[in-house]
Symmetry: C2
Subunit: 122 residues, 2 copies
């Protein structure tokens, strides 16, 4: 294997074994792709509008227009965010005549949000 480029300049005078440390960390560190997907997922939860949409859909499935009314936002803004939520597989939709009905698409959503609530409540 080739030498890795060291972005950090040096390191503190090591009483501990750096090689062992780096090895054991990279053992348990997930693949880069998993880390990326994980961050992308949490990014989706990192916006109040999307959190509100999820809370709204906890109540019941709903068409885009209803969500917009409930949250007092434009149809366009909601539609854009629903697309993000759908790409993250957090919501799904179905057509009912002219309307598109959105609903939650994952059982973990409530758990993830609950965990977050528990943390901020200390």
């Amino acid at each position: 294997m080739a030498e890795k480029d060291n972005k950090h300049e040096h390191c503190c005078l090591e009483q501990h074994n750096h090689k062992e440390l780096i090895e054991s960390v990279s053992m348990d560190m997930p693949e880069e792709e998993v880390l990326y997907d994980l961050a992308e997922l949490f990014k989706v939860f990192g916006d109040t509008t999307r959190i509100k949409i999820l809370y709204t859909l906890f109540e019941s499935e709903m068409c885009v227009c209803d969500i917009a009314e409930v949250l007092n936002m434009t149809q366009s803004a909601i539609s854009h965010q629903l697309k993000v939520l759908k790409q993250a597989k957090l919501v799904k939709n179905r057509r009912d005549g002219k309307q598109i009905i959105y609903s939650l698409d994952d059982g973990h959503i409530a758990n993830i949000i609950t965990m977050g609530i528990e943390h901020i409540m200390e």
Copy 2:
């Protein structure tokens, strides 16, 4: 109370009771401040560098320089992100001579990340 401004233009012809819907949604919707804090928390998880730092600290407490070496990033970049993690109360630190030792500051971290992993694994 004054009239609420309607950002959405109108709404789909309502077979269902909008007032009831809006009422029951706003019943279960958390306070704006909670929603904001919640989104801020998930935002912190929404970056691969910070996720990597958390995974690193799962292994053991560590000084800034070690984290930088393990992740092959500059001390400055790590330090900036540790500040974000600390503000979110996800890590804490203590001084040991010249070094600042960082460690995890919350029991929910592993659970939140695990939930995320479970979702992306479908």
